[in-house]
Every structure is written in structure tokens, then in C-alpha cells.
């Protein structure tokens, strides 16, 4: 078991990769009452075409999410019951890139950790239980369809991307899930739920050696078939934007408006990817953060509210910025934002603006570190991209003004821009 001390944030991380390939990270937090654990596979909604050795597989959209649902149903036990018996609350989620199973508790950590490992590593899929779930997930998809915040976001993704699977609802579509079978779930499970493709992260009130020993023993008692390299295939995605404007009516009380900028250069990992994320967030903050003149102008004109924001997501095969929120007048908002972006191109970001934004990011990062959930989820997400969460403060320190100004011009390009609007139905 390796030990790494991070002086700048006063944390110590324990790590070991087990014989079966599982990466285990343990972060003890002095003085905390809670323990939070996540068991995550690097398998999400975008992974519907893959190969290992001779076997090439293409599966319907929404299968990773479907699998997550079915994981909780076992022949004998009710998984939620197993957790609440020991006072733990459990949950799971599926995103574009990963599926995570988690619990939090203040007592009986060892029992709950064992339950977590065992239930995820004992799949139970039958045709009958698969059929039953289709109706429930169809309702879930309909619920998202009715949700205007969800729709305006996905319309933006569909506007930006021609073919990349990030444009599809994580849960799939009502039609795509009809094609899912128990055999397909088993195939996907065998490919992606192999320990070598997974990360276990445990943080909170615990003793590292005891926990690591428990995990090692639990894993040593199980056998897993050998797994070769997995190749993931994504369709060719042109640089250009698919549909620059999507504008639909819905039964809402207020307009919703989002602008997106699609990443041109993908394929980054590690520190490069982290740095690009931080630099882009700094540019967004200088342009539209609460201490920016543009935000003040939009707010004082009554165009935007408290929910207005801007963020950037960057993964290995895709990346994009999203700006927007509720608005009294989407056309006016877009006009003002376009003017702002034009000004952004014409005027460099000053050292003062850059330093202020960087300081703000330091504070924001430190605030996040109070949350055990943030540690587990963000660390896992970053590790799958070969990024180390604990590199953030040093990386922030290394960023130079010219890098920020280069990104300002390169990323916020009119050719890479898409708009998504939802207006109240007449």
C-alpha cells in the first residue's frame, strides 16, 4: 500500500492496485463522522461500440444506465435493504463516461463496504426482470422529456454534435431500450465491470490498513476471467457544429437559453487536459463571472437571474463550454452575449483580471475539499482521464497569462458555436 502526502492541502492518500487490477484509493479524514465510498466503472452512455480480441460489440443506446438499474435487483435480496439495515444510504448514477455505485454511513463501515463490493460483483440479469424495467425507464425518459432544463441542455448537445454519442440521453430513448436483452447486459458487464476497469474510493472516518486489508481479502476470495485490452469505438465527428440554432416551444413560465462552444482538438489526457479545463474556466469567469462587467450589464437589464452560469467539460473524445440560464428575452440575451464575445476577441485579458480569477479558483477548490462526495467523485473521474486531483493547486500556479489569452481566441470561435432556446408556448 503506497502513501502520498499532499502538504498544500494537508491530506494523505493511500493507494494500491490489486492483483485483479482493481485500483483502491483510501483517504482518511480526521474529525469527520461519515464514511463515503464509490465503486466506479469506466463505462458510460457513450460506450456503445467496443471490441476485445475477436469479439466486436454494438449495443443499443441507454444500456449502461439500464445495467445500473438492474444491478440493484437480486434473486434473493433487496440491495437497499442490505444497506439500510446498517444505517447506510446507497445510490448510483450513470454519466456519459462512467457508472458509479456508492453509499454513505456513520457506522459499520466494514459491513457496508462488503455489501457494496459484493452486490456490484454479483450480477443477476434475467429476461423477466429486464422486461419489467423497460416500463419504468421509459417513464424516466418521459420525465426528462418534460423537464425544460434537461431539454434545453440536450438540444444544445444535439446541436453541437453530428454523430458522437454524447448527443444521446444517458438513459437512451424509449425505442432503443426496447431492444435490450439480458444477454447484452451480461456481455457489457463482463467487458466493463472487470476490476481492472474499476476504481474503489473510500473517504472519511476510517483506518487505512484495516480497510485495505478488508478489500484485498474480499477480492482475493473471488475469481475473474482474464480480460484483454478493450478498444472503444466512436463514430467520426466533424469539427463543425451540426445545427447552430435549436429553438422550440414548451409549457414553461420563462424562456431558457444556452450557448455552447464545441471543442476542436480532442485526444488530450493527464495534465494537458486538466490545464485546458482550468484555463477555459478562467476565461469563462473573466467573461461572465459575477464580477464581470458583462454579467453586471445583463443582470441590471433584467435579462438574467441568479441561475445564470458558464462551465466547461472536457473529456478524451469530446469537450464543450455551456453558457446560459433562464431569461426574459433570449434574442436580446444572445445579441448581448455575441457582442461580449466579440469584445473578448478584441481585448486581451489583463494580468489583474487573470490573478483575481485564479485566486477565486483557489478558494473554490478549497471549499470543495470539505465535501467527501467531491473527493470521491472528482478524483475518480479525473483518474480515468489520467489526471491527479491533487495537481490542481500546482497546475493553477503554473498557468501563464499568455496561455489564457490564447485560449480566449481559440476556443470562443463563432464557427464552433451553437444555441439552444426554449420559449413558453403561446
Amino acid at each position: 500500500m503506497k502513501e502520498r502526502l499532499f502538504q498544500n492541502v494537508k491530506e494523505t492518500l493511500y493507494y494500491e492496485q490489486l492483483d485483479n487490477g482493481l485500483q483502491v484509493f483510501i483517504l482518511p479524514k480526521q474529525g469527520f463522522s461519515k464514511t463515503y465510498a464509490t465503486f466506479t466503472t469506466r463505462y458510460g452512455s457513450i460506450d456503445n461500440h467496443f471490441q476485445s480480441g475477436e469479439q466486436e460489440v454494438q449495443v443499443p443506446d441507454g444500456i449502461a444506465h439500464f445495467l445500473e438499474h438492474k444491478m440493484f435487483e437480486k434473486e434473493q435480496d433487496d440491495v437497499f435493504h442490505l444497506f439500510s439495515k446498517y444505517g447506510a444510504s446507497a445510490n448510483a448514477f450513470t454519466s456519459f463516461d462512467r457508472t458509479s455505485y456508492l453509499f454513505s454511513c456513520t457506522d459499520q463501515v466494514e459491513e457496508n463496504l462488503t455489501t457494496l463490493l459484493d452486490f456490484v460483483q454479483n450480477p443477476y440479469f434475467t429476461e423477466k426482470t429486464v422486461e419489467k424495467e423497460k416500463g419504468i425507464i421509459a417513464q424516466e425518459i418521459n420525465m426528462y422529456d418534460d423537464n425544460p432544463d434537461f431539454r434545453v441542455y440536450f438540444n444544445l448537445l444535439q446541436g453541437m454534435y453530428h454523430h458522437h454519442p454524447v448527443r444521446i440521453y444517458v438513459a437512451g430513448t424509449v425505442n432503443s431500450i426496447q431492444e435490450i436483452t439480458a444477454d447484452m447486459l451480461t456481455t457489457c458487464y463482463n467487458f466493463f465491470y472487470h476490476p481492472s476497469n474499476m476504481i474503489l474510493f473510500i473517504v472519511g472516518a476510517l483506518e487505512p490498513q484495516t480497510i485495505m486489508d478488508l478489500v484485498k481479502k474480499n477480492q482475493a476470495d473471488k475469481t475473474f476471467p482474464k480480460l484483454g485490452e478493450i478498444e472503444r469505438y466512436y463514430p467520426f465527428e466533424p469539427e463543425s457544429v451540426h445545427q447552430p440554432v435549436t429553438d422550440i416551444p414548451m409549457a414553461v413560465g420563462i424562456n431558457k437559453c444556452l450557448i455552447g462552444f464545441k471543442e476542436r482538438n480532442n485526444g488530450l489526457t493527464g495534465k494537458e487536459l486538466l490545464k485546458r479545463e482550468l484555463v477555459t474556466q478562467i476565461v469563462l469567469d473573466v467573461l461572465l463571472g459575477k464580477s464581470s462587467p458583462l454579467y453586471e450589464q445583463l443582470y441590471n437589464e433584467g435579462l438574467i437571474g441568479e441561475d445564470f452560469g458558464a462551465d466547461y467539460s472536457g473529456e478524451f473524445t469530446y469537450g464543450y463550454s455551456v453558457i446560459g440560464g433562464d431569461t426574459t428575452n433570449p434574442d436580446s440575451l444572445i445579441e448581448k452575449l455575441n457582442e461580449g464575445i466579440q469584445r473578448l476577441h478584441q481585448t486581451s485579458i489583463t494580468l489583474e483580471q487573470f490573478e483575481r480569477s485564479r485566486k477565486k479558483k483557489i478558494g473554490g477548490f478549497l471549499r470543495s475539499l470539505n465535501s467527501l462526495e467531491f473527493f470521491a467523485n472528482q478524483f475518480t473521474k479525473y483518474t480515468f482521464n489520467e489526471i491527479d486531483l491533487f495537481d490542481i493547486l500546482d497546475t493553477l500556479d503554473e498557468i501563464r497569462l499568455d496561455e489564457v489569452n490564447e485560449r480566449r481566441v481559440h476556443h470562443f470561435d463563432r464557427n464552433q458555436m451553437a444555441v439552444s432556446i426554449i420559449r413558453p408556448q403561446a
Binding site: 437497499f80 444505517g87 463571472g289 441590471n300 433584467g302 485566486k359 483557489i362 478558494g363 478549497l366
Partner: protein, 430 residues
């Protein structure tokens, strides 16, 4: 490692309370200033407006932009305001969170600067002709209207608001913490400033600091603030009104909704300061607070009548609200099952498993409070307003030793006061 302390030290100075919890387990220090007013029609709307207007500008930082720049310079200090209802009090909250010195470049020390900034926001507003800046007031009036409208758009919150208004008609609790929409338009910058000088500044203030914050140092840093916000007299909070229930009423309303919202209001006749508060807490947990509770299991799982069926306890007022989203046609059936579950608990029909699970989950929730500065402040402040402080150990101990009879007794006190049903227009009731 089960620590069981929410150990605030309280100092009273010039009439105001300063509560500090000195700990290094977080990477930030959290500061909250609570100004508490009795919920009253005459000033509820002005109180809902005031904090957002104060946020717009003060003498050292006359625009919000300048304020935000200053916050960013303080290593991204976060700042926000809120207004809540706690029992029959309206509480205006100012909160700031700063990084601790230990994680910043040498020489940075944010606590004093943060407290000075907070004091300026609360005590040195920009004043123009005996009133707040008209442009600030105008925008915030519009924002308050938007905030109230968004509750109306959210049908569950709307139903809850209406059920509370009907059940507590004539009691201060019927008022929303966001005020009365119709009154907003008529408030002038001068009215608001007068309210601020003559009423707002003279209310009970509780200051909370959690982090690397030793109590006498904090008091020292707040001295100027306390001098200016001097408070003559005893700190007090409005005590809640309890009403005896004669006959439960039913109110049915119609709107364009696709799902019926069934809300049942109960009087528990039990407050946080009462000896049987903890049994009532366990009763609520067993009855409807969790996915293993009677309401979830019987209304949703067994009968598939609802996607959600929950109960929520308000121990600063003495009521419990049951909320459920159902098909219109299932009104009588759902109501029947909910009331039947209450009877079940009253008669002691509680399995060992239900009891063990409820205790485990409730204790887990309580222990987790210690992992959040906000949760600890809320816990302590509720105890302050509710006039009784219980340590976590005490509450957990009482929960662990609770028996079926104690819970049945608590259930026996609970009385149905109001049935509220929000349904679509022009339908029939089965």
C-alpha cells in the same frame, strides 16, 4: 471515530449572540449572521426584500460588481443572502465562506477582512435621499416577484404553500418567508430604508463562526459591528401558536396540473423544547420520512398509487405535513391509506425491523450533521429558536432506547387538521 459534539461557545455582547465553533477539520471558515423578526404582515415583504437590496452596494463597495471583485480578491470568498421561516420567525441570513489561512500563501489572513466586508454590507448601505438606491430596489423587487412566481410554477411547493395558508389561517405561520406578492409594487426606497433603520437593525442577531475561530478573537473582530448594531433588551424569538383541532377541514383547488397533489396537515402539539420531541422525531421517521417508512411502502410500493409519499415534521411550529402525488381518481383511496397507517402506528403495529431501520437511518443522519458547518449551524440555531439545546449524544441515546409504546404515544397526539387537494379543472371525484 464517532465524535458527538456540536460544541459552540456563546458570548452575548451588546444584546447580540456570537456563537463560535473552533475546529480545523474544514478547509474553510464559515460565517453566518442571522437577523430574526417575528413573522408579521406589516413587514414580512420588506424583510424578504432587504437582504437582496443590501447585497447590491455599500459605502466601501458601491456596486455589486465592486463587491464581487473584492470577494474574488479574498481568494474567492463566497457570499450569499437568504430569507427563511423558522417556526413563527422570519430569519434573514447573510453568509460568507473563506479559505483558511493554513492553505493560502504566507501572510494571507482573511478572517478580519471578511468580517469587515460583512459589516459594511449589513451596516453601511448606499443611501440616496433617505432611501436605498432606486435602481437597486427596482431590480430586486422584480427578482422577488420572479422568485415567488417560480414557487407557483412548482406545483408541489405551491400545494404546500396553499395547504399551510389554509391550515394556519389567522396565524403568523400562514405567511410565506418571501412575503406577499401584491405588496411588492408599493414599496418605495424610503419605506424600505425606514424599515431597515427602525425595525430590521433592532432585531435579535445571532452570529455564527465555524472554523479556525477562537471565540474571544471573533468577538474582538465583531466589536465594531456589535457597537453599531447594539440591541437593547433581551434576545427573544416569537413563540409558535398551537390550535386545538375540532374538526378537520377539506380544501380542494383546481389548476392545470397533470398529477394530483394531496397534502394532509396535522397538528403534533409537540415542539422542539418538549420532553416528547424525540419520540415525535422517531415517529415521523417511521411514519413517512424514508423509503422504508410506512407511507412509502404502503402508498407507493404496495398500491402503486404515488411516485412519492412523504411526511415532514416542523418542530418549531408543531405541525406535520404529509405530501403525495397521485392520480385524481385515487384521492379517497390514498387519503384512506395514509390515515390507516397513522392508526397502525397508534395501535403499536410496528415491527422490530421497522424500528431498527428507522433508528439506524435517523442516527446516521444526525451524526452526519457534524461533517458540515452549515448543518451544525442550523442544528444549533434551531435549538436556540426552539429554546432547548440537546447534544447529539443525548438525542442519539434517547433514540436508541426508544420503544414501540413511546412512538405509539407520540402518534396518538397527532391530529388531522386539514386535507388539501390540488387537482385539474372540471373533473369528478371518485
Amino acid at each position: 471515530m464517532l465524535t458527538t459534539g456540536i460544541d459552540f461557545k456563546t458570548i452575548n455582547h451588546h444584546g447580540n449572540n456570537i456563537h463560535t465553533l473552533h475546529t480545523s477539520k474544514f478547509k474553510t471558515t464559515t460565517i453566518q449572521v442571522h437577523v430574526s423578526l417575528p413573522l408579521q404582515e406589516e413587514h414580512v415583504t420588506k424583510a424578504a426584500l432587504i437582504a437582496n437590496v443590501l447585497k447590491r452596494g455599500n459605502v466601501p463597495y458601491p456596486t455589486e460588481l465592486k463587491l464581487r471583485e473584492r470577494l474574488d480578491d479574498l481568494y474567492g470568498a463566497s457570499f450569499d443572502v437568504d430569507v427563511l421561516k423558522k417556526g413563527e420567525n422570519q430569519v434573514v441570513v447573510f453568509q460568507m465562506e473563506i479559505a483558511q489561512d493554513a492553505y493560502l500563501p504566507k501572510g494571507s489572513s482573511l478572517l478580519q477582512e471578511a468580517i469587515e466586508l460583512l459589516s459594511a454590507i449589513i451596516l453601511q448601505p448606499v443611501v440616496v435621499e433617505e432611501g436605498f438606491t432606486p435602481a437597486f430596489v427596482q431590480i430586486e423587487k422584480e427578482n422577488l416577484v420572479k422568485r415567488i412566481n417560480s414557487i407557483i410554477d412548482d406545483k408541489i411547493r405551491f400545494a404546500n404553500l396553499r395547504a399551510t395558508q389554509e391550515m394556519c389561517m389567522g396565524e403568523p405561520y400562514a405567511l410565506s418567508a418571501l412575503g406577499i406578492k401584491e405588496e411588492i409594487d408599493g414599496i418605495t426606497p424610503q419605506d424600505l430604508y425606514r424599515f431597515y433603520r427602525e425595525i430590521f437593525l433592532k432585531q435579535s442577531k445571532d452570529i455564527y463562526v465555524v472554523g479556525v475561530a477562537e471565540s474571544t478573537r471573533v468577538k474582538g473582530l465583531f466589536l465594531d459591528f456589535l457597537e453599531q448594531a447594539k440591541f437593547e433588551g433581551e434576545i427573544s424569538y416569537a413563540a409558535p401558536i398551537d390550535k386545538p383541532v375540532h374538526e378537520p377541514r377539506t380544501v380542494i383547488e383546481e389548476l392545470e396540473v397533470t398529477q394530483g397533489k394531496l397534502h394532509l396537515g396535522f397538528r403534533t402539539h409537540t415542539l422542539l423544547k418538549d420532553d416528547d420531541y424525540v419520540p415525535m422525531l422517531v415517529f415521523n421517521g417511521l411514519f413517512g420520512a424514508y423509503p422504508h417508512s410506512k407511507l412509502f411502502i404502503n402508498v407507493r410500493e404496495k398500491e402503486s398509487l404515488a411516485y412519492y409519499a412523504v411526511s415532514r415534521l416542523e418542530s418549531l411550529k408543531g405541525i406535520m405535513m404529509v405530501m403525495s402525488g397521485i392520480e385524481f381518481a385515487n384521492y379517497e383511496k390514498a387519503k384512506g391509506i395514509i390515515l390507516e397507517q397513522l392508526d397502525q402506528v397508534r395501535s403499536g403495529a410496528i415491527s422490530d425491523e421497522e424500528l431498527t431501520q428507522t433508528k439506524a437511518v435517523l442516527i446516521n443522519q444526525l451524526r452526519e450533521i457534524q461533517d458540515s458547518a452549515y448543518a451544525m449551524i442550523d442544528y444549533h440555531y434551531n435549538s436556540t429558536i426552539g429554546e432547548r439545546y440537546r447534544s447529539l449524544e443525548e438525542v442519539i441515546g434517547e433514540i436508541q432506547s426508544m420503544q414501540v409504546e413511546d412512538i405509539a404515544k407520540a402518534a396518538a397526539k397527532v391530529e388531522l387538521d386539514l386535507v388539501y387537494f390540488l387537482r385539474n379543472k372540471g373533473g369528478n371525484m371518485e
